[in-house]
Amino acid sequence: MKRILAAAAIGITFGIGIAISGMANPAKVLNFFDFAGTWDASLGLVMASALAVAAVGYRFLLKRPRPVFEAKFHLPGNRKLDLPLVAGSAVFGIGWGITGFCPGGAIPALGLGEPSAWIFVGAMLAGIAAARTVRFALQQRATQNT
């Protein structure tokens, strides 16, 4: 129960941070990337600020033996710069550039009751589900062939 309540409180902090920063506002996000037009530098400061706090926090935190509720820190073990990482990230940027929504901005935007956020998130979840189905099918075929 404690870990659920803590996760909810951390989620609220994240959502409020996103809302205050402007990351939940597609117009502001798109303007950050429009260097040739109506440029708004704000989101650069959001990233810099979040990154600075996280970098300092992680530096102290990851020296400790374990997190409060778990036996170990769950850090991604994959170190390879592979095709899915590169191609997936490139594709993500195209969708972000079209809509101004990224997953971390769109989920809190749901709480603002904005219909465009609901449309985007519905489509995004469908995209994740479709991609997952394809990857599972490919993995299954690969194991059957060996």
Binding site: R3, A6, A7, I10, I12, F14, G15, I16, G17, A19, S21, G22, M23, A24, P26, A27, K28, L30, F35, T38, D40, S42, G44, L45, S49, L51, V53, A54, G57, P67, F69, P76, V86, G88, S89, A90, V91, F92, G93, W96, G97, I98, T99, C102, P103, G104, I107, L110, L112, E114, S116, I119, F120, A123, L125, G127, I128, A129, A130, A131
Partner: protein, 145 residues
């Protein structure tokens, strides 16, 4: 074209809260605060540890609600994008973040903060393609309809 105001104080304070949430999720749950990874674990086949994931997502939605409804804070929002393009862009984002193993929160904040080479590469690539896409949409084809 929608102009927006430069809001440095809001950007820095909001960003600090995002960073704080990332540090707290690592401190308590030992997890990367990446929206893609957390969401994916809630989709079938649902991860065994779905509880904290659902609580985090619920909190992330409730946060802006609290801010506007309980504290009367005005959160500016404007989406200049037609619905059809929201659907197309949403599908593209979903596929991209799944294969790319992360988005702005997971790679751009958490991964970059621990100097993960994968996250640095991913962030540079998606920031690049986002910039290119916005340029093409706004300056070459003159907007979406």
């Amino acid at each position: 074209m929608l102009t927006t105001d430069f809001t440095p104080i809001a950007a820095l304070s909001g960003g600090a809260l995002i960073g704080l949430a990332a540090v707290a999720l690592m401190a308590f749950h030992g997890r990367i605060a990446g929206m893609t990874g957390i969401l994916t674990g809630l989709m079938p086949p649902i991860a065994a540890d779905w509880g904290w994931r659902a609580a985090f997502i619920g909190g992330a939605i409730a946060g802006p609600m609290l801010l506007t409804l309980a504290f009367g804070h005005d959160v500016t929002f404007a989406s200049p994008i037609p619905d059809l393009w929201l659907v197309i862009g949403g599908l593209i984002v979903g596929v991209g973040v799944y294969f790319g193993s992360g988005c702005t929160s997971g790679h751009g904040v958490c991964g970059m903060a621990r100097l993960s080479p994968r996250s640095i590469v991913a962030t540079l690539i998606f920031m690049g393609t986002t910039t290119a896409t916005v340029f093409v949409v706004r300056h070459l084809i003159g907007g979406l309809s």
